[in-house]
């Protein structure tokens, strides 16, 4: 019904206080202000409307007007977008989320619109790269990671860990602290910010830089909802979408990452930086993973290599 469309439902599978949930809430409030209250927004956090792998479907089916989509939650569906999360792959300017989120949002209209058909992309986000955090072992060389059991979620992280000779284990995030304490896992792949959110400081001794790989997200709005809005409202939404928004959100994440780094310092966690030589070695080890993935995606999408190059430029 057209009247009901004035209140937009935004779905987030993340907790109410998570940076991403807060960001879409703030976005909704800004939209409400700029439309003089014509549009109001209701945010449904914590997966109230559906699990993480259904967020995109919620939007295309009309169960939500907008949602935060984690690309890796539906393997195969967002193959192109996920290329931005490949190991050690980030814009040449750096792996800050500010930079990578802005770049991915800028490239989205040309390369990623097909994957997000039926929706309008408000912004894309790339996490700061996930670090290998370890309970006891000092990761001063790649050799030290062999045989360790490391919590991870997602295909890319799994491949990297296996290449390093470690065993990936899919432990739910909330159980990682206990897993580390009991020695079920020797480490976990998380950004610093998540180390803090899950309070892993007391269990960790080391964390390894540089981060290995990133997760990618899209904040999308239903095309049907968008098309049903007044031209003025659509103009407001257009102005509130795009690379600048991606950069602004990325900056929030970078801030969280810095806070997480400080938190680890307070908990006496040593952040080890891999030597140049070891970094080169790692680059060489993950290169086949990157090539294979681009080739696999390239079979259905001839732009895969071009997109990857444009992203890492």
């Amino acid at each position: 019904a057209p009247v009901a469309a004035e209140t937009l439902k935004i779905s987030s599978y993340l907790p109410p206080k998570h940076a991403f949930t807060l960001a879409v809430e703030a976005w909704g409030q800004e939209l409400s202000q700029k439309t003089n209250g014509d549009i109001t927004v209701e945010v449904f956090p914590a997966g109230q409307l559906g699990p993480v792998n259904r967020q995109f479907d919620l939007v295309t089916a009309g169960a939500a007007d907008a949602a935060i989509v984690l690309h890796s939650a539906t393997p195969g569906r967002f193959a192109m977008s996920e290329l931005a999360g490949l190991p050690l792959s980030h814009p040449a300017a750096g792996d800050l989320s500010t930079i990578s989120s802005e770049r991915l949002t800028a490239l989205a209209p040309d390369y990623l619109a097909d994957e997000h058909a039926g929706t309008k992309i408000i912004w894309m986000a790339v996490t700061p790269p996930l670090k290998i955090n370890l309970a006891k072992v000092n990761p001063d060389s790649l050799e030290a990671l062999k045989g360790l059991r490391i919590r991870s979620a997602g295909q890319v992280f799994q491949s990297v860990l296996e290449t390093l000779g470690a065993s990936p284990l899919p432990v739910p995030p909330a159980e990682v602290a206990e897993g580390l304490a009991k020695g079920i896992v020797d480490g976990a792949m998380f950004p610093f910010e998540a180390d803090m959110a899950f309070d892993l400081g007391p269990e960790l001794d080391y964390s390894l830089e540089p981060g290995v790989a990133s997760a990618t997200f899209a904040f999308v709005m239903s095309e049907k909802t968008y098309d049903g809005l007044s031209p003025e409202t659509r103009a407001v939404i257009d102005a509130m979408s795009g690379p600048a928004r991606g950069a602004a959100f990325g900056a929030e994440w970078d801030k969280g990452e810095n806070a997480g780094r400080a938190y680890l310092g307070e908990n006496d966690v040593t952040i080890v930086t891999l030597s140049e030589a070891e970094q080169d070695k790692l680059q060489g080890m993950v290169a086949p993973i990157i090539d294979a993935q681009i080739a696999a995606v390239g079979k259905d999408n001839p732009d895969a290599q071009a997109f990857y190059d444009a992203y890492t430029q």
Binding site: T74, P75, G76, R77, G147, R149, Q155, Q158, S167
Partner: protein
């Protein structure tokens, strides 16, 4: 009519057997995974996916038998207050409603199955095409629909539950 009912009973019994095997498979898959991890520090790749799929088979392929043996939970407090004829009538009505509801679920599951195929969705670990898992799930739902039809048509609906028919005991 009797032959339709018998046919559906056999079908439900076959599905139940598959469900039992899937259950046993789940036990063995997880035990093997833990054993490999504990003894050789090398967990079996894809256990997470395998268990998810076996769980789907185990849960859905027993639904037909649940319906056919009328094992679904009913709050029967009313039976003490109304004549048996009313209870029988209600049972018949809900049996027909169940057919409609299960048909709706089956029909609704077709679209995500087709989308999983079109978009190339895969499972998390093994990268199996997810639409195949949807087909398996639809098989279970089809059995449930048939069982509900059998119950709705059965002259026995409303009388005491018929135990053990689906399992051929």
């Amino acid at each position: 009519m009797q032959r339709v009912y018998r046919g559906i009973s056999l079908f439900a019994a076959a599905q139940l057997a598959i469900s039992q095997l899937a259950l046993l498979g789940m036990v063995l898959a997880i035990t093997a995974d833990v054993a490999m991890r504990a003894l050789f520090n090398s967990p079996i790749r894809g256990t997470y996916d395998t268990v998810g799929i076996l769980l789907a088979i185990s849960a859905l392929y027993a639904v037909a038998a649940v319906i056919l043996e009328r094992r679904d939970i009913v709050i029967d407090l009313i039976d003490g207050f109304v004549p048996p004829r009313v209870s029988t009538l209600l049972q018949r009505i809900w049996a027909i409603v169940a057919v409609a509801a299960l048909c709706f679920l089956f029909w609704s599951m077709l679209q995500p199955m087709l989308e999983a195929k079109r978009y190339g969705d895969t499972s998390l670990e093994l990268r199996l095409p997810l639409w195949l898992v949807w087909i398996v799930a639809l098989g279970g739902m089809a059995g449930a629909v048939l069982a509900a039809v059998a119950i709705a048509l059965s002259p026995a609906t409303g009388s005491a539950p018929v135990q053990g028919e689906a399992s051929g005991e």
